[in-house]
């Protein structure tokens, strides 16, 4: 009977083509295969975000008067509201962590080489979207820490040359952070960013299917046919083991370290001690903090922003800067840059957390 159903659907939806693709898809097996799982892990965690986010949407209210109370309502009155909310908050962090692992591993394995340049660019776009999701979502509970962290974050954005003050007013919906900012961030978080992310994610996944999985340069050069495993069911089942592990971690974190409610935001109070942005902005924050107030006649913060921006542009253009086959001096130089970048980002993130401890 299922055969008849499948035939009916296939005639109308053309499912046979997808089945064929899925059967054909292979994943190379070598000692770096472990890193191939991280794209799927990021996707899984994104899915968790979408589901829990939609559930939260059923009770959350996006006005300054009611946001905090609605989150409190979810945490205290709604059945398992505490669980959905804590999973959403924790999974956001895990997703960005997975995205960064995925990005660094594809960089070091030079998966950005032709013909996968657009895959790389769309992936960087997805990372930027993840950070935007994180930044916009962080404000929504409207508590003191979120309010003031957003204040600092938008102020730093405002220091960008030329477009800074426009960006600040665009983000805040005015000069200051108000209920209007909350409405705007909510709009970004549940409508605009998801729409853009759908398109970019669709492009990214399509390109991955189109070009197949890349091989790291050393292994590619050897030329001999590489052992591979079928995506369905072998790789996928392994993927699922990883996803189950992630689910377990989320359950553990939500039960043992539930996300706190905080104190309702009071725009007229002074900033509470110890505000800082979420950890994924930590390394940028720490870089700016450590720069002297003036460098070569320019404001230190400005130099910091430009420097980070420049670093980002170089990172983005890696496919075009590297040797086409990823070997030779340029290849090694870029790999070295990659390692330095990883050490820098990880190191500075840790420093923020060390210093942050009271």
């Amino acid at each position: 009977m299922s055969g008849r159903l499948r035939a009916w659907l296939d005639e109308r939806l053309g499912l046979e083509a997808f089945r064929h693709l899925a059967e054909k898809k292979e994943v190379p097996v070598h000692r770096h295969t472990f890193w191939y799982y991280w794209g799927g892990m990021t996707l899984f965690l994104f899915g968790v975000q979408v589901v829990t986010g939609i559930l939260l949407l059923l009770y959350y209210r996006a006005s300054a008067d009611e946001a905090y109370e609605s989150v409190r309502f979810i945490m205290t009155q709604v059945s398992f509201g505490w669980l959905i909310r804590s999973i959403h908050s924790w999974s956001a962090n895990l997703m960005i962590g997975a995205a960064m692992v995925h990005m660094f591993s594809t960089f070091l394995m030079k998966a950005y080489r032709a013909p996968r340049e657009v895959t790389w660019l769309s992936g960087m776009g997805l990372l930027a979207l993840c950070l935007a999701f994180g930044f916009s979502g962080y404000l929504l509970p409207w508590n003191q820490l979120a309010f003031f962290a957003t204040k600092v974050g938008t102020e730093i954005t405002g220091a960008t040359p030329v477009i800074g003050s426009f960006l600040l007013r665009f983000l805040r919906g005015g000069e200051h952070i108000t209920g209007g900012t909350l409405t705007r961030f909510f709009g970004f978080h549940v409508a605009i960013l998801p729409a853009i992310a759908t398109v970019v994610l669709g492009l990214h996944l399509y390109l991955v299917q189109r070009h197949g999985m890349s091989l790291p340069p050393g292994l590619e050069a050897s030329g001999t046919p590489r052992p591979a495993m079928k995506f369905v069911p072998n790789f996928l089942l392994r993927d699922m083991v990883g996803w189950l592990a992630a689910l377990g971690v989320l359950a553990l974190l939500s039960a043992l370290f539930p996300w706190e409610l905080g104190i309702k935001a009071d725009p007229y109070s002074s900033a509470p001690a110890g505000i800082r942005p979420e950890w994924y902005f930590g390394w940028m924050f720490q870089t700016l903090r450590m720069l002297p107030s003036h460098i070569l006649g320019l404001e230190g913060e400005l130099v910091g922003i430009l420097g980070i921006g420049l670093g980002g542009v170089i990172w983005l253009l890696a496919p075009f800067l590297d040797d086409p086959r990823g070997i030779g001096r340029r290849g090694r130089l870029l790999s070295a840059l990659g390692v330095i970048a990883i050490v820098y980002v990880v190191g500075f993130t840790l420093i923020v957390y060390r210093r942050g401890k009271p």
Partner: protein
């Protein structure tokens, strides 16, 4: 009434000089000009701080109190025919000051809402009575307010600025000065260690009473029995009100005991502690109520219930703390706890009615709230436990599933 000093003379001089278009020279004050140069300390001392004296600032120079002629630079300025009166004797001082300060119409020229000194009030005071008996060591106006550098009482440098009042009173009210008299002399030492003294002198809380707030300013007397709960009740309104209506206050008055002071002390009053409502050594009920008396029986009802309420609250608080540390939301319980604490505050005041019915009503209300807060704490901990059980079960299922999948993969790939 005594003749008004020739105040209009310097005033006219002032008016005449301010009529000039340019910055007018200061009005002529030959008294200051001469006395300032004298070697005799007793004669030159008054000139030192006179410039900031409020009377000088308002245009009332030396002649305002002493009479004489301020424009005459010679000794003839001090001619009695020109109204010179010299330094008043101790018994004359109050009347001299009152000649202006008790005259409402006159004072209003300097201040739209003046303090009008009442000679009648001053006559009720111990100070006035002793002065008219000829006692030279008793305070009159100048002892507290100063004499030639008088500052308004709102000026922190004034000896009658609230924070300075206790020190000013204690200049006389101490063991050495009062030697040979029968009045108590430990008031200042007691006051400094009291809650009022610490609030006023250490924390600078200007709402705390100084000596004059309870004893009166110019009519200083130790308040008598009935007055005491009125005195304390001026600030401690609710307690004073309840106490005044209570049977205890009537009994104390009949027995000649001293109202609030019986349990709280007066000059050395401390922050009342809940240990005063106990059967222990600090408990105050047992001081008057012999065992078996109706009062002791009432205390035997109140004390244990009060202690039970407080320990229930402490339990609820610690339960909620534990829940909070474990990440649970406890705002509902905290609100109930706060309301219960409000009732304890209420209770401490209602105790002063010494009437079992309202006291028990408040305790019942507080207990009800404390019990509800306690239950919220227990619920929060129960929820936390359930979450961990749920988490453990889910993790168990996940681990089984992961293991199963890995086995399946291995089996699939071994064939």
């Amino acid at each position: 009434m005594s003749p008004r000093p020739a105040a209009w003379v310097p005033l006219l001089a002032l008016l005449a000089s301010t009529g000039a278009a340019h910055a007018a020279p200061a009005p002529k004050n030959s008294c200051l000009d001469c006395h300032r140069t004298l070697d005799d300390r007793r004669l030159s001392a008054p000139t030192v701080s006179f410039a900031q004296d409020i009377h000088a600032v308002r245009g009332l120079g030396c002649v305002g109190c002493h009479g004489g002629n301020p424009v005459d630079p010679e000794m003839t300025a001090m001619d009695p025919d020109h109204g010179f009166k010299g330094a008043p004797t101790r018994t004359q001082i109050a009347e001299l000051c009152a000649s202006c300060h008790a005259d409402a119409a006159y004072m209003k020229r300097f201040n739209p809402q003046p303090y009008i000194f009442s000679m009648a009030e001053f006559r009720t005071s111990v100070h006035c009575k002793k002065i008219s008996e000829g006692d030279a060591k008793v305070a009159t106006c100048t002892n507290c307010h100063g004499v030639h550098g008088i500052l308004p009482h709102k000026d922190p440098r004034s000896p009658v600025y609230r924070r300075n009042v206790p020190a000013t009173c204690s200049k006389c009210h101490n063991a050495e000065y009062m030697k040979g008299r029968t009045v108590p002399t430990n008031q200042y030492a007691l006051y400094v260690s009291s809650v009022h003294g610490k609030a006023l002198l250490e924390k600078g809380d200007l709402s705390a009473p100084a000596c004059n707030n309870c004893h009166g300013n110019h009519g200083a007397v130790p308040p008598n029995t009935r007055d005491i709960s009125v005195v304390c009740g001026t600030c401690h309104g609710r307690e004073g009100e309840l106490f005044a209506k209570s049977k205890v206050s009537q009994t104390l008055e009949l027995e000649g005991k001293r109202g609030c002071v019986t349990c709280h002390g007066n000059h050395d009053v401390q922050v009342p502690s809940d240990a005063m409502i106990s059967a222990g050594p600090e408990g105050v009920c047992g001081r008057c109520h012999a065992a078996g008396s109706p009062g002791a029986k009432a205390a035997a009802v109140i004390v244990p219930r009060f202690q039970a309420l407080k320990s229930r609250l402490a339990e609820a608080d610690s339960l909620l703390n534990v829940a909070e540390r474990r990440g649970m939301e406890t705002s509902a319980g905290r609100e109930l706890l706060k309301q219960s604490e409000d009732q304890i505050l209420n209770l401490r005041a209602v105790l002063h009615s010494f009437d079992l019915a309202p006291i028990q009503a408040v305790m019942a209300e507080g207990s009800g709230l404390a019990d509800r807060a306690h239950r919220e704490g227990l619920l929060a901990l129960r929820d936390w436990r359930n979450r961990r059980i749920g988490m453990a079960l889910s993790l168990g299922v996940i681990l089984v599933l992961m293991a199963g999948l890995m086995l399946k993969i291995r089996r699939m790939e071994s064939t």
